[in-house]
């Protein structure tokens, strides 16, 4: 038998590894952006494969907004001990009174904690290529992303001026002060991510799996109790729930679910009629929320 056909996951995996290696070969000072979520877990696994048997020669960067779930932070600290990974944590903490989503609004909070934190860290370390785990199927403005997405000095995304891409010959050249955001997982779907987590036995934050949690039900959204959570009026209840995607705790809601294993999650997703970011409050602020955030430099 002269050939072995690659299945859908093999092909996605190979494409992502190719892009990660291309960054390593072409960048001066690259970095992975690590969000602790499932996509970051997959990205980290792929990076290990790309450079095996060596350590990953590109550092991982986590921007800590002080609003992440406790379980995320402890998961991150476990990753920090992985000998194949060099994880840098940049804290972008402001006093709760100075910045929070409840009194300032989600947009302003995101801009100040996430976007500013990210741009500041990129500038501070002089990173030229920042690799992230964003996927094109997540949200409509992300469906327009290139693998190598150019940002101007202040992080601005000029989508009308993107260089078109043609297979493996990526244009990785940068003018002074410009940077690239690189998205090796562009063509993965949410289900692909879980299929791969299952196949490769990749560890993810336990919040993704269903268990009975105490939640505050606010306009149909399940917010779980957390250190940073400022309880508002609403019904508090014990429900079986899990998180479909993870972000800052005040702005990320759980979904009602009994899926407590990877295969149960895949089954749930196949049958689901709701999108992945249904629980992300930041996306619903306007018709083009994410696009506006991306133009400002949000990942």
């Amino acid at each position: 038998m002269i050939k072995e056909k690659l299945d859908n996951l093999d092909e996605l995996e190979s494409e992502s590894i190719y892009i990660i290696r291309e960054v390593f070969a072409c960048a001066q000072n690259p970095v992975f952006l690590y969000s602790i979520g499932k996509d970051s877990s997959v990205l980290l696994h792929l990076a290990k494969k790309a450079f095996y048997p060596n350590k990953i020669p590109i550092p991982f960067l986590h921007i800590d907004t002080a609003y992440k779930f406790k379980e995320m932070i402890s998961f991150r600290d476990k990753i920090k001990k992985d000998e194949f990974v060099n994880l840098i944590v940049e804290k972008n903490f402001l006093d709760k009174e100075e910045m929070n989503p409840l009194s300032f609004g989600r947009d302003i909070c995101c801009k100040n904690l996430k976007t500013k934190g990210l741009l500041g860290a990129i500038k501070k370390h002089g990173f030229d290529f920042a690799i992230g785990g964003a996927r094109r199927d997540e949200e409509k403005s992300r469906s327009k992303e290139k693998f190598f997405s150019l940002r101007t000095e202040d992080g601005f995304w000029d989508f009308k001026n993107q260089s078109p891409e043609f297979g493996k010959n990526y244009n990785t050249l940068l003018l002074k002060n410009n940077t690239f955001r690189v998205f090796p997982l562009s063509n993965w779907t949410e289900i692909n991510i879980w299929q791969y987590i299952q196949r490769e036995n990749i560890e993810v934050v336990p919040l993704y799996f269903s268990q009975k949690r105490k939640v505050l039900i606010d306009k149909g959204l399940f917010l779980i109790e957390d250190d940073f959570f400022v309880p508002k009026k609403g019904e508090i209840k014990d429900v079986y729930c899990r998180f479909r995607s993870l972000g800052c705790s005040p702005c990320t809601a759980a979904i009602e679910s009994r899926a407590d294993t990877v295969s149960a999650i895949i089954k749930e997703l196949v049958e689901s009629k709701k999108s992945e970011r249904e629980n992300r409050l930041i996306d619903f602020d306007s018709d083009s929320s994410m696009e506006d955030k991306k133009k400002d430099g949000y990942f």
Binding site: K3, D7, Y18, D137, N169, S186, T189, D287
Partner: protein, 594 residues
Amino acid sequence: MKNKRKLIRISTAGSVDSGKSTLIGRFLFDSQKIFEDQYLSVKNICEKKGMDLDFSYFLDGLKAERDQKITIDVAHKFFSTKDNDYVIYDVPGHEQYTKNMISGVFEADISIIIIDVSKGFLEQSKRHFFISNILKKDRIIFCINKMDLLSYKEESFLKLKEEINDFIEKINIKNVVFIPISASKGDMLKNRGNNMSWYKGKTLFEYLESFDESKNENFDIRFPVQFINKDKEGNRLYGGRLDSGKISINDEVLILPSNKKIKVNKIVKDFKEVENAFCGQSISLGFKGDYDIERGDLISSLEDKPFCSKKFRIKICWFSDKELKAGDSFIVKSNCRKTVCTVEKIEFKINFNNFNIEKTKKLIENDVGSVIIKTNDYLLGDFYKKNKKNGSLILIDEKNLKTSALALFEDLVNFSETEIEKKEVPIIWFTGLSGSGKTTMANMLHDFLNKKNIKNKIIDGDLFREAFKNQLGFSERDRELNIRMASFVSKIISENGIIAICSFVSPFRKIREEIKNDNPNFLEVFCDSPLEVCERRDVRGLYKKARAGEIKNFTGISQSYEKPLKPDLVLNTGGESEKKSFVKLIKFLDKFIY
């Protein structure tokens, strides 16, 4: 054995209102990829604006696109069927965004072109077809949409099919797939529907699901080295993706450009060493012995090697708003290699209205054409026709670093062939009475060019006649024949990069005009000296003989000289010094001679 789940990439292109968005909306709806929350939010927006549910809201991801109701950049959409995963590269139709259309079609395995059955084969669709044909060949599907609006009549489908076939047969394309569909009603997509029982072919989904890329697979080993790694013992490992073929431990392979034979002694995939690696896999290779291998070198099978050259004919899709001309230079990236190239010649471009080839010296934004480039360093690859994975390159602007073109390797170009070809050198044709100074000017020019090492050759009327053993006389017919032969010879000489310096009395305007029209590089230089002056000079005593009637048909005496009406240059060789005329000549020729 159960078939593996495949990842199939399709591109969708259609002109305005062809129903493309509705078709994609169908794909997504049918595979439940439009979610309740997205559906409700779009419904909400459409209701607010007082419109019916508009599928383009699911597809065009950016505010500017939704506002203008157009696709600007490629949108990537995903759906899956029971057996396969699909990525849709939804591409723009407008000429202005051709680069994004080409990008989407390039990435796709299958190109779908959606056409409104009532609108015919519009120019935008011709462009989609032509690009698809260059990039995808036999993987093009025409979806003839909106059949429901014409009562699903077979005649309307056949009429459009014939119109398209007539057109594309001109460029020798046959066997293109046509499917009559109704995107809004769902006929011939997933289900056949009950309305077009006259159509016996596959439905669109049946075509997609039966896609088999292995038909066109290339078995030659192609492994461009992407980066250099080390194993635990400190031996070098070379990372990259196997573009084609299968590689196994102990295989003897060739490393290019150094052309050395080496033996594979390690293949690393995932977290382990393996015996074999297959086409498409990202792996690392180790070799027996110590070799100097760099990023951009290429590992190949011993037989059927890739090319390794510095000069190519490429098919180019030009995107930049700057014009592309001979002499322009760019950064090139191809198969992990980066170098600089210079454009030697623009050969032609394609007219998208009739698919004709048009000669040109420049390409403008969105042109597709043929160009010859020369690179500073070697490029390794295959012709696109032979191996698509290895057959393309991109050109990057040296100043703004934007991707200016996609190009496909078409052919290698012989160095000596174009070195001459690129210089379009002139034929300098001196005309005037005998004794008007033609030969003097020709000889001075000859010496001048020789000193500058510029190749040239004098073709003199008298020498020419001698060469033909004086078989030709001076009758009108013989003179015409003589000039025609001189023109023919000088054309051959100039096409080979040698400047032809011709001095011929050539008294007849008609024939001079004729050879001028025949050759764009023909420069007519009129040595304007009055008959009295020439006759007074009478260097060879010809005028005396003519006056005595010893020479018949002598120009100026017994035959008229027809002055040029619009010569490229007039030299007043009767009134001014030789030197002054010559300076004038050189000044004039400056822009034609390099």
